[in-house]
């Protein structure tokens, strides 16, 4: 075989072509970081109230480092920059990270390129939780979180947990079972949501605006909690990138490559769901990011999860930060609309120039 293969190049040259592919991730990462920085600057500097860039910088310098740059600004401007815009931009980034990372994880875990963070019922569970919170006449706030955030979070987790438990009954392969159960449970929850919306009366608009997703009520306290969950969850997922790689050729191959598939599947499911639930609780249901960003990243750097996960995080953060900025400047249109309008054509463009010229 070794002689008959027509191999012309030596192993070292092979190493070369394998090595060359490693530079692209770094370029992409650099681009992502620059994009994030630009999004942050624009997000904090622009808004319905005009604040001069110098004032913006001075406010941030004062708040972050205690520096006094000798400019004066009104308390209103201070509040706008520090309490409104900055948490909003950062929240959009955190949610972008969460959605992209969990999307990539679900795609790898379920071996399905059409998977997104909501595939196992998280969206329906969160929506139903939020709708219940709006409809029932209890109003509580805890650390800046309303009942709607708490029930959305719990609803998302409860939905996945239910799907996981139910999927283990029956003889179908685990992956197929998960996907089908996810679909069934999601439909059931959607019916519950429709009922809740019907009964909601005046509060319908609230449920609806949650469903469309948005960052307009972002606050530091919410950001702290969401960022912690997303960051910790994402790092823990990244540490398990090996599992996602191992699953590329199927569960049996993964077992043979040393992956404890049953346990890893449960852990990754739990982590990805936790991250999704945290994102969805603060921002509502924003679609498209979790599905498309990982694919765009893979088209450029290949399917190695060790590279795809962090780059998807960067890409998701940048995409959502810019999308929210655009949504804000276009008159507070729903962020989900912007992500779809930005993302879909760009994705199609990339597909045509993809690495192998064929599908995802």
């Amino acid at each position: 075989m070794a002689t008959g293969s027509g191999a012309l190049t030596s192993p070292s040259l092979r190493l070369g072509s394998i090595g060359r592919a490693r530079r692209r991730p770094l370029i992409l990462a650099g681009g992502g970081i620059v994009a994030l920085f630009v999004a942050l600057v624009l997000g904090v500097g622009l808004g319905t109230v005009a604040i001069s860039p110098l004032d913006t910088v001075a406010i941030l310098a004062h708040r972050l480092f205690g520096l006094d740059l000798g400019r004066t600004w009104t308390p209103a401007m201070d509040t706008i920059v520090w309490d409104l815009r900055l948490p909003r931009v950062l929240t959009s980034m955190v949610v972008g990270v969460g959605l992209a990372v969990s999307g990539a994880t679900f795609q790898g875990l379920l071996r399905n390129p059409l998977a997104d963070p909501y595939v196992l019922g998280t969206a329906s569970g969160a929506a139903l939780g939020a709708a219940i919170a709006v409809v029932i006449p209890i109003r509580v706030t805890f650390l800046g979180f309303g009942l709607i955030h708490a029930l959305a979070f719990l609803g998302a987790l409860a939905a996945v947990f239910t799907v996981y438990r139910l999927s283990r009954i029956g003889g179908l392969s685990p992956l197929t079972s998960l996907l089908l159960t996810g679909y069934a449970v999601g439909s059931l929850l959607a019916a519950g949501l429709a009922m809740a919306m019907y009964l909601s009366g005046a509060a319908l608009r609230q449920i609806f605006s949650y469903l469309l997703g948005g960052f307009d009520t972002a606050a530091w306290s919410q950001l702290g909690a969401a960022a912690t969950l997303v960051a910790v969850g994402s790092v823990l997922i990244l540490l398990r990138a090996r599992t996602l790689n191992g699953l590329l050729l199927g569960e049996e191959a993964a077992v043979h490559l040393g992956v404890n598939v049953g346990r890893e599947r449960a852990i990754l499911l739990g982590l990805a769901s936790l991250v999704t639930a945290a994102a969805v609780a603060v921002s509502g249901l924003i679609g498209f990011v979790g599905l498309v960003v990982p694919h765009v990243v893979r088209l450029i750097v290949g399917p190695n999860a060790r590279v795809v996960l962090p780059l998807s995080a960067l890409g998701g953060a940048a995409l959502l930060a810019f999308a929210d900025l655009a949504a804000r400047l276009l008159g507070e249109i729903p962020v989900g609309v912007v992500t779809a309008v930005i993302g879909a054509p760009f994705f199609l463009f990339l597909l045509r120039r993809s690495r192998s010229g064929y599908e995802l």
Binding site: L15, L249, E252, L299
Partner: protein, 249 residues
């Protein structure tokens, strides 16, 4: 190296393998043969630890497989994966690189030694001309070779193959067999393969284990195992139809 003691495997309360005892020493080259449904693949899956026998014990390197974690098994046993659909576009070299998973640093991933092993495996199996291509676009035969390279990259002392020549043309079938012999003779890799082609088995494997209806009926050299009577009994064909070539080496 590999030891099976009185293995019994049941599927829906029916015994698909029974009283199977087998010892494979390090450095051996063994082919499991038999008609369809004889239990060859099942036995293989007991060896790799995928299936737990209802009775009996399976040992790898002297230790019961039950006691070993999958990472350890993966470093001792490399299994050529079955053909599977890839969910994403994956280059040939990325597929082969998966073979290094059991050896990779859990945090930093592939190291230069891993990349070298991948390159060497690609060279050894002879799929260098496929580098850079999406594995999903390859023909079944080409993909089979890539998967073989993956298992070679795994650098395990034991290589397990389940019908590795199924999708290959004649030249590649022989080439694969040559490669297995080479790995066995030069590197000392223990080879255990399920084969349906008696000719290939007889020529390239000094030891054949013949299964019929879940029982090991013969275990030895090709001439000892594939006697005309056996061929008639087990395979149900006229023995004159089967021409066994002389063994290699």
């Amino acid at each position: 190296m590999i030891e099976l003691r009185d293995i019994r495997v049941e599927y829906r309360r029916r015994a698909v393998v029974r009283d199977a005892s087998l010892t494979i020493a390090a450095g051996e080259r063994v082919a499991l043969i038999g008609p369809n449904g004889a239990g060859k693949s099942t036995l293989l899956r007991v060896i790799t630890g995928l299936i737990q026998p209802a009775a009996g014990q399976a040992l790898l390197g002297g230790e019961p497989i039950d006691d070993l974690d999958r990472g350890t098994i993966a470093r001792r046993l490399a299994v050529v994966p079955q053909q599977a659909t890839l969910p994403f576009a994956t280059r040939v070299e990325e597929v082969v690189a998966l073979g290094r998973l059991p050896h990779e640093d859990p945090f930093r991933g592939a190291r230069p030694a891993d990349r070298a092993a991948v390159a060497a495996a690609i060279e050894r199996v002879g799929v260098g001309h496929l580098l850079g291509r999406d594995a999903r676009e390859l023909s079944l035969g080409e993909r089979q070779l890539v998967l073989l390279a993956l298992a070679v990259a795994q650098s395990a002392p034991v290589l397990i193959l389940d019908e590795p020549t199924v999708h290959l043309d004649l030249r590649h079938q022989v080439g694969t067999m040559d490669l297995l012999v080479d790995l066995n003779v030069r590197d000392g890799t223990t080879i255990v393969a399920v084969l349906h082609d008696l000719g290939l088995a007889a020529r390239f494997f000094p030891r054949l284990v013949l299964l019929d209806a879940g029982v090991i009926v013969a275990d030895g050299s090709p001439t000892d195992v594939l006697t005309p009577d056996r061929i008639r009994e087990v395979f149900g064909v006229d023995p004159s139809l089967v021409h066994l070539p002389a063994p290699v080496r």
